[in-house]
Symmetry: D3
Subunit: 234 residues, 6 copies
């Protein structure tokens, strides 16, 4: 099985880190190819960044789409998943949805811990769209930028332990989801510190993509996810 | 007051039609400037089209942003409104939200009538995001493409009257929203045929933008809609 | 265009204040006539007050209904709007709904700040009825009576700044709605103190009524808002 | 125990019929006093009628309030219950809420069958306010006026059987609620015709009022239902 | 009228206490028979306990089912009510649902106070299933086990007063529901201490069962609650 | 990896069929052990059946719990999952939740097709509990018993194709979930007949259990799913 993991931002370093995590969590026999667009923002922290990144992600999909059994979008906003589902028949997984499904099976309520405070509303919107808002105890932010995950991972981990503890003690969470692809590899330590399960979103995305392939499920082309209408692009 | 109306697709013809409607509905003393991106799809009928169009819309915003008091995005998916709200302090209006507010004040429940059946889910998602799903009796589609509004407006109008009647008689709607910017100018005739009010979305968008300017309301920069983080774009 | 603004309570002073604000926010060319019933409570602070006021409001509507293009009910409970929509074809606007629509366009979540704590539940019920509860971060009360807006406006403004700050810092609001018609004229100062937009409900009501008239929208008489059945009144 | 049942409309005949039903369903030892306002509409079929009736209902409450252990408002819109809860300490029951609670205990989903089609939205709003909308399979109307319950009860019963059958076969209902106080006494026959339980709302109201008295529960005066503020009434 | 009250746990002492409370709240002329299974857990504090208890409860129902007019399940999880509704035609009442209906009539929002913290999620699930989650201000736990109600009732009462006060002052509750059958008899004291109404769940269950019998309502056998399919049990 | 799949009913034939499907979908290197209780109903078609089966399922869990890495409950009601989560640290998967997650990733809305019409409400309750009700277009029943899956699989398949088609054409579904463990092995044919993806629930359950193990996620013991309290069982 070959899975293409796309990091929607243009950071080489984060892409390498995502690749490492994705490979570590993948099944034996699954080949992981991790790429990122060559054009676009180095991190996604606003709606503006997200919309700039999506067309580049779509171009990445198109490059060699028939070579893969599934696609994973490795950003906790699941940016552009709907469009990718229109473009290709293979299953498409956003790491946000995959990590929420995993959390839902091991705890009645969970919290998402993420980076900048400004993303609070964006993350809540992702949770709401997936339909699992009632299971989400809270979204908590460490107020460090996305790239701090690479450049100052100690500060990020310390922040995650702190807001994770608040989620458990104040908000009613019983498990933690790491709400950024750059947090891959931090789950084990945080889980140990907090004594509750902690979901790695990249790992969840890769394994959920494998699940869909194993079930021979492709995206429904019945109506909403039909291929985009052929048309003129100026 | 100067309002910039942006048609997110690249159709000259539809842009002229939107401009005509926007001008007809604007207050005396409001200057309407209607533009469209030079690059991108000629119509927006899929998530794919929408994501291709949005960065071009954002570029249109940036071109001469300080010359305008408000911005109106003239596509019934409100594409990119969140990002535009980050980019500029002036109020930003999507024609979908504006037309739902207007409908909500004149009927307990209303339906949105729109173009291709494949857009059914996209339109429902817009309604849900605005928070008014309980007031939406149904989304009904005529299954004609967006550009038919320009090229075969008789067929479009006939289709709208037909599905509008179904919305009233079967779904419990008591008013109709035209769910496409290309349907501007059709509201009066459809309202007369169906004997219920029919909301022109472009008119609603322009007047709602005027309302926000008159109330001296600008987009909150407290948290979610702060300017995008300064960062490297490859 | 002629708009009749009805203050549902019987306070001359508040009616004058509402008229001043309504006129200040209205378009050039819009004539504002502001009235209040001669019979009924001097302020509306309970369900009891509200139900006593409504039939008097309905009588005010009837007095010279054909002289106006739209009606605005200037109380943040939108008392009796449903009945007025049955009585007349012209559009009818409650200031609560109008101010929520305005806030929704400039912030992802907003709070309503209002008078007595006992009104907390009444205000929440108005928000819920409009369908926008998910966008409402909180309702916060200063616990001063409605007429304090006229008699001790300094205390009211100080209270609004205080609870508005709590709404921003604790509840996740990013804009503020003034939840009482008597608070007209206070929006600019509060917005400046809190550095977020603040919605004047009377202004929103007047401008939203203008919007509906400009869109040539009248209340749907298809079913729910048909004229009241002719019948015997003992 | 003494319970005052108030028919909010001014029809003598319907009041007598309500009294008969209320007495038939009351416990031994419960004295039922049934009254109606002397002023107001002979039936409630619109928001207009409802708002005209409520102040008269409140006056009826005040006449000899200390003589009763509980109050029942016998109209399926529960008009004015919130205000009555402010006015008196004794428990106040609307027949709509009481009949929904009863139906909820004997069927997973139920439908409300009522009079004029124009009331469809009003009835849905009552269901929604009570919080039980997910259990409501549908609202179905026979499109006969309220007073037909007295003047042409055969037509009303035939209509109820017909729309009740549609509720069971099409909408997924498994029990029926009679959605008008004038339908008292019809439940047994309709239940027999449809072979499902049918809730008499007046009976449910009286028995639920008895329940609250037996539990020594009075309306909470903690905040929302405090006595109305003392104030000037012009 | 004969009502069988079943305590789903196997504690003799709690059964006696439930019987005392049930009898005290029942109408004159209602005979209360209170039983408990001979096999199963002495208290229900986890999903595990609940599922172990339910088949024993069902056996208790079957023992002499035709001798009773209604059944009350005296545990605040309403364990097995759905199955009992399939088994017998008589009405079946869970004390949780009955106490929520009572609270809903006397306060706009109420809180449930209960025993161990681990039950927090279970209690919320019961509230949600009944459909009244919007009226529930909070669930608060004293973190004492169920049997403490019998063995250390002073500590239980002190805890309930404390968390009840938090529910009123912090969560927005205006009435209190005792969320455990073992708390019968404590309502009057707690209500007096907190100056708000407090609902005894056992009393509410018994009186609500009487209400259904008086309305001659039996469980609908139209679809969901048909008798269990006849089949082989190994 | 060793996964124990428990068929909650006592049918040998269905257990063999489930084992075959589970093994076919499992990863290389995963050992599947499929068992069923020796005591209990041969099929689960009512709440009564379900509650009789659950304690036997719990006993099956206990028999050799330390030998497995995860547990799958192979019945589309996810019976007893909450209790199993209390009992063991290993992850526990219900096939209903797993199949809904899979469907959610390949279609905006899906329908569940199942056996007897009486189960309609039970299945809806499972969907609602999982939080994905907005994504569920409908539940459709073929009105054949569970064991027909083994005894008359042609009739079952024909029925599933028929109601699946109705789900697509009438209800707005774009994918199909097989809502019974006995339908394992039918997904490929139904998918081909309907030209939309069809989810095998047993396959989804096994693969989702593997996913949780691979992510090293165990059930949170923070609060709700702590081990059951030690206590006396009579």
């Amino acid at each position: 099985m070959r899975i293409k993991v796309i990091n929607p931002n243009t950071s080489d370093e984060m892409t390498r880190s995502i690749h490492q995590v994705a490979t570590a969590y993948a099944s034996l026999g699954t080949e992981i190819v991790t790429t990122h667009p060559t054009v676009g923002p180095v991190s996604i922290e606003s709606f503006y960044d997200e919309y700039q990144a999506i067309p580049q992600v779509l171009a990445e999909i198109k490059r060699n789409e028939e070579d893969f059994d599934a696609f994973v979008l490795a950003c906790w906003g699941d940016p552009g998943t709907d469009a990718v589902r229109e473009m290709v028949p293979q299953p498409v997984v956003g790491i946000a949805e995959a990590s929420m499904y995993a959390a839902n099976a091991i705890a009645p309520r969970w919290s998402v811990v993420t980076t900048l405070r400004r993303s609070h509303h964006m993350v809540e919107a992702v949770v709401k769209k997936t339909g699992l808002a009632e299971h989400c105890a809270s979204v908590r932010c460490i107020d460090l930028p996305v790239l701090a995950c690479e450049e100052d991972s100690d500060a990020v981990i310390a922040g995650l332990v702190q807001v994770g503890r608040q989620a458990l003690e104040i908000d009613g969470a019983e498990a933690i989801i790491l709400g950024c692809a750059g947090m891959g590899g931090m789950a084990a330590y945080i889980s140990q510190q907090l004594s509750v399960p902690c979901v790695d979103p990249v790992g969840a995305g890769v394994r959920f993509a494998e699940l869909l392939v194993a079930l021979r499920l492709q995206t429904s082309k019945y109506m909403t996810y039909r291929p985009p209408e052929a048309k003129l692009f100026h």
